[in-house]
Symmetry: C2
Subunit: 301 residues, 2 copies
């Protein structure tokens, strides 16, 4: 795809998951661009949010992302946004993930370049988060986003909450944006056979780190639009340190107290091979395994 | 490793698993050879058998394998062999598995070259099996091996059992050898918390294809030497059509009737990535997954 061989992943989240016409206008910025591969995009009507999956050459990704942000800010008004996912801006968060031939430091530098250019061009306040965070209290995205758009008019003027780039005042229609480099996350949605949102909330609360659950685990309960099901949306922020099977088995365990069960689950976006292998080895009770035993490229018949 | 980019795997089984001196002499033929990578070798004292895992350039693998066979025939006398694994020769079986940039047809041709040269050089009767078999009744290795070494003096003269290459008479000290190209197998050993060999035999019988079990599944029960455990040794001959989790869950299910349980399991040798992914997706109840979601090469910190 590129000369440098460097590949970065970018997973921007836009606060629009229902108006397909607007979503297409934004996503179009990622089409037919040299060095940019639009892997997928998922618009979720319940969350009223669209996550885009991009891979490509770092500078090409940055430029396409700037273009998409310009379009999103022009056509979306954050004041009209209602959805189940917390949000603080039209372009809510722009994560950069080093995939190949790139160090985390290079990804951090790219995220800062993007943050600076986007802040200046669109006059939107930008907060650097995760590996790009300049202060420890800004590492956690949820902490930055607390209060959401509605709370930011006040929060932005609080001591310690001056944006890292862009305007020092809230952008009325675009809100604020978080930008940062981070490890690849794993996103797992688990569907339960109940329409009781309280059950999903309770299970999500029980498994997530911030309320006494698993380390490196974020989770929210979601009621599925036009469906009899609820869903636990899980984000694993460090799959090297916390395994997929732990999340799954803990959701199963917590479901029992409500007499509900897991119908199925879905992995959103990409997942590192070793995360799936790790869970297979757990369930198959495999001891004493080396990743070198894996044949990745199989033969042709 | 090689110019052609073709990589073949070769997994010869030698009927000696106890005399480490002899085993080293054989395995040495695979060391310090251009185009040959000795991945691993496992000598099993219970089976009295050593399986070697080789990968490399086809012609280099063939030549090193000829050298090793010559050594093995010189230092092992099959008449003295006692072990839990059925066997018919000093070099019991030589499977060739196409791994990269090779078709199955090319692997079949390589296996025939090896069979012809080995038969002529060592005067050992050779049977082609699996994808290399010339007759359908020789596809199944177990069918060829039935009667083992002790029965071959008679079997070799029976109508339809003329060897494909080499001597038409049994080699008294080396027995006979099966050679063929095949799909990659998966070898899984499952340990149970009992020392009752009958339990292992019964479970193995219940899960293997030939006695009413799973398609593409071979299994034997083994009593572990110097241990309170028994083991189910499973070979899966087509992981694309029959999944690892089916074998594991069926062993678990059959164990219940004896009140025993699985302690752990071990994957012997290599395993295709997709076989592990397939089982992870089963246990995590993942729907609607594409192999393109997998990130195989992760970033550097």
């Amino acid at each position: 795809m590129v000369d440098s061989g460097k590949i970065i992943q970018c997973l921007p989240n836009f606060s629009e998951g229902r108006d397909l016409d607007k979503i297409e206008k934004i996503v179009n910025a990622f089409r037919r661009k040299t060095g940019v591969k639009l892997i997928d995009y998922n618009n979720d009507v319940n969350l009223n949010r669209t996550m885009v999956i991009l891979m490509g050459e770092p500078q090409s990704i940055k430029n396409a992302m700037l273009e998409a942000m310009g379009i999103a800010i022009k056509i979306i008004d954050i004041r009209e946004h209602k959805g189940q996912h917390p949000r603080m801006g039209v372009v809510d968060v722009v994560p950069f993930i080093p995939i190949k031939n790139m160090s985390m430091l290079e990804a951090v530098n790219l995220s800062k370049e993007f943050a600076k250019e986007a802040g200046e061009r669109f006059n939107v306040p930008i907060y650097l988060y995760e590996k790009s965070a300049i202060k420890p209290e800004r590492e956690n995205l949820a902490h930055i986003r607390r209060g959401e758009y509605e709370g930011f008019g006040e929060k932005i003027n609080r001591p310690g909450w001056k944006p890292d780039f862009g305007s020092r005042q809230l952008h009325i229609t675009a809100g604020v944006t978080a930008v940062g480099a981070r490890m690849p996350y794993i996103s797992l949605n688990i569907n339960l056979n109940t329409d009781n949102k309280k059950v999903a909330d309770s299970i999500a609360k029980s498994i997530r780190f911030t309320s006494g659950g698993l380390r490196f685990c974020k989770a929210i309960g979601v009621k599925l639009y036009n469906s009899q099901l609820v869903q636990i949306c899980v984000t694993m922020t460090d799959y090297n340190k916390m395994s997929l099977y732990k999340v799954f088995e803990m959701v199963k365990m917590e479901s029992k107290r409500f007499g509900v069960s897991i119908i199925n689950s879905k992995i959103i976006g990409t997942i590192p091979m070793s995360a799936l292998v790790d869970s297979a080895l757990y369930y198959l009770q495999v001891d004493d395994f080396s990743m070198e035993q894996i044949l990745e490229n199989m033969f042709m018949e």
